[in-house]
Symmetry: C2
Amino acid sequence: MDYFFSDRVLTLKPSAIREIFKYAADPAVISLSAGNPAPEAFPTRELAEISARLMVERPIDALQYSITEGYAPLREQLTEYMKKKHHIGRDFDMLLVTSGAQQVMDLATKSLCNEGDVVLCEAPSFIGALNTFRSYRARLRGIPVEPDGINLEELERALKEESRVRFIYTIPNFQNPAGVTMSMEKRRGLYELAKKYHVLILEDNPYGDLRFEGEHIEAIKSIDEDGIVIYAGSFSKVISPGMRVGYAIAPQPIIQKMVVCKQGSDVHTNIWAQMLCSEFLSNYDFDAHLERLRAIYRKKYGVAADAIRRYFPAAITYHPIQGGLFLWCTLPDGADMPGFCKQAVLRKVCVVPGNAFLTDETLPCQSFRINFSTPTDEQLERGIHILGDLAKEIL
Amino acid sequence: MDYFFSDRVLTLKPSAIREIFKYAADPAVISLSAGNPAPEAFPTRELAEISARLMVERPIDALQYSITEGYAPLREQLTEYMKKKHHIGRDFDMLLVTSGAQQVMDLATKSLCNEGDVVLCEAPSFIGALNTFRSYRARLRGIPVEPDGINLEELERALKEESRVRFIYTIPNFQNPAGVTMSMEKRRGLYELAKKYHVLILEDNPYGDLRFEGEHIEAIKSIDEDGIVIYAGSFSKVISPGMRVGYAIAPQPIIQKMVVCKQGSDVHTNIWAQMLCSEFLSNYDFDAHLERLRAIYRKKYGVAADAIRRYFPAAITYHPIQGGLFLWCTLPDGADMPGFCKQAVLRKVCVVPGNAFLTDETLPCQSFRINFSTPTDEQLERGIHILGDLAKEIL
């Protein structure tokens, strides 16, 4: 039978990263292409303790239907924690627990964008979010990212030229894939532009707690007195991604629409996982846990940066980072980046070609992304060594 | 700030059931309005055992990112089980694990329906699914349900009149809310009509294993040699709804589109919950467990039916059922059904007004839905007693 598909999915392709994962599944291949937290970063002992207690003491609560908005104690804890620690959340805001931060992108786009509406994104940006926007037939327009964040002149030009912009999507901390962190000046500038042009900001902050160098910079949401920022948080990088627990903090009218959409999408998020997060926050030292994670990633970044200095030719540049999980490396002008990535696969090392992260994948791109959280130190060193040798041969 | 919302969500309302749940949250209220499995139906001891073992022996597997299609062992087990036990699944089919069966509705509609496309539904039908179809701006057309299932003449008339029908949505077993079960003749008839008019069937079967009387009838999917049926299964009523694990079995091209949509929706389903289902299926006697559930619901249905016979005036009719969780009761012509439901709330008993389940809620409706799985036997008896007294007074 010939199947009819919606216009939405006709243009959607499985992400380029997924295709690369097929090679990366080969155990002989060193994968520098994933985005998984380091296995040693999971608080496995604590979670096993909490889970065992829950399943014995409160099994019905952990197994029965729950409400769409999320597990009430977790919502209260997070509301309080984000307000106290990050100045995030005003009286007009509300918190919704989601099935990973990915679902924040999904529910926000579904609630806010008609087909043909415009989402302004950093270029490059997180492919998972871009594909979600595309899946609702939003039109994407990329705004270049500089070492201190999005280019505000280009952003304003786009806001002037495009009449149907619904929101600006940004990852201000240790951006995926570029690794850059937006300065406070630019955060304020971006906020003022959004306000001036009456568009919302979707602030995605999965890596904010993983700063291993430099000074903390407040979230854009922390200055949101006008109710124009939707903040997406996640436990994926700080507790466990397999649980799929994230959250949105946004003005109540927006959250209410997202709740109705979530009802039709998955009813509610796995309740055991929400209780696990709640118990972890209340019975363990979350800040000490985050400090431990930062130490893990500081060390892994050190291994990666060392190997790059040792093995990469000077012609490959990369942007030093202060946190997160990714390094963005750039081949010199004229080099064949896709060819380089393909050759690397043949030598059993996977990286992600940078054009996968563009709003238009066919645009020229000289960069590729390295992930340093998933591989072991040995794999990291060996993988970068192989990439360096390859670069020296073909450049 | 005045927020702009997509056309999709402008017409969406929180479901009428949710509004009723607000009253039902009052502990003094007897809720006959929910759809929760009986707490005693959860295999809590077994799940606690499995979970404890997983979190100690394989914590990284249970906490790390997983693949969108679902946990491979669970997919294999389910594929095998559904084929062997229910003749469901052909070589052209594929299985996708979803975050509850609700997500099957969501991903299927997103993949198959453009705005303005038509979904044919039973009238009445499951409100959660109807709202999902609406959320993609599909147009709903209701086809009356008779004691042996959907009216095939009306169905064919709709198929002739509507040029943009994408699929027929049906719950053939112990339909929510009407409680009716479609005969095998009608299942075959529906299949032939779908084939003749080149439309798909979305077969939702959350209650199929909860038959406590009569002979099992094969699923429509079991006769699908043409690749036109999307089958939605769920662990919500047979293991735990709070885990949010369901699955779709459908032709590969459709599943592939659904996978791309799921990637952008929640990346993958909570992996711990998938592993729990898989371990339960392989290490415990699932069929014996189902037998235990059937005994629980047979008993609870008996309590409800007894109380109805005892307390309801003859003017209230109801359709006897052979399984599932719901009873559909109908007031005589001319009675004020919404008024009856409101009066019942004032007397601290909640039921769901039947028009909530129609494609057009403003159509006249004399019925209300009673759930007998959630309340205790005492609540069930007392609630039906109160409803009966009320009916005798106002009819």
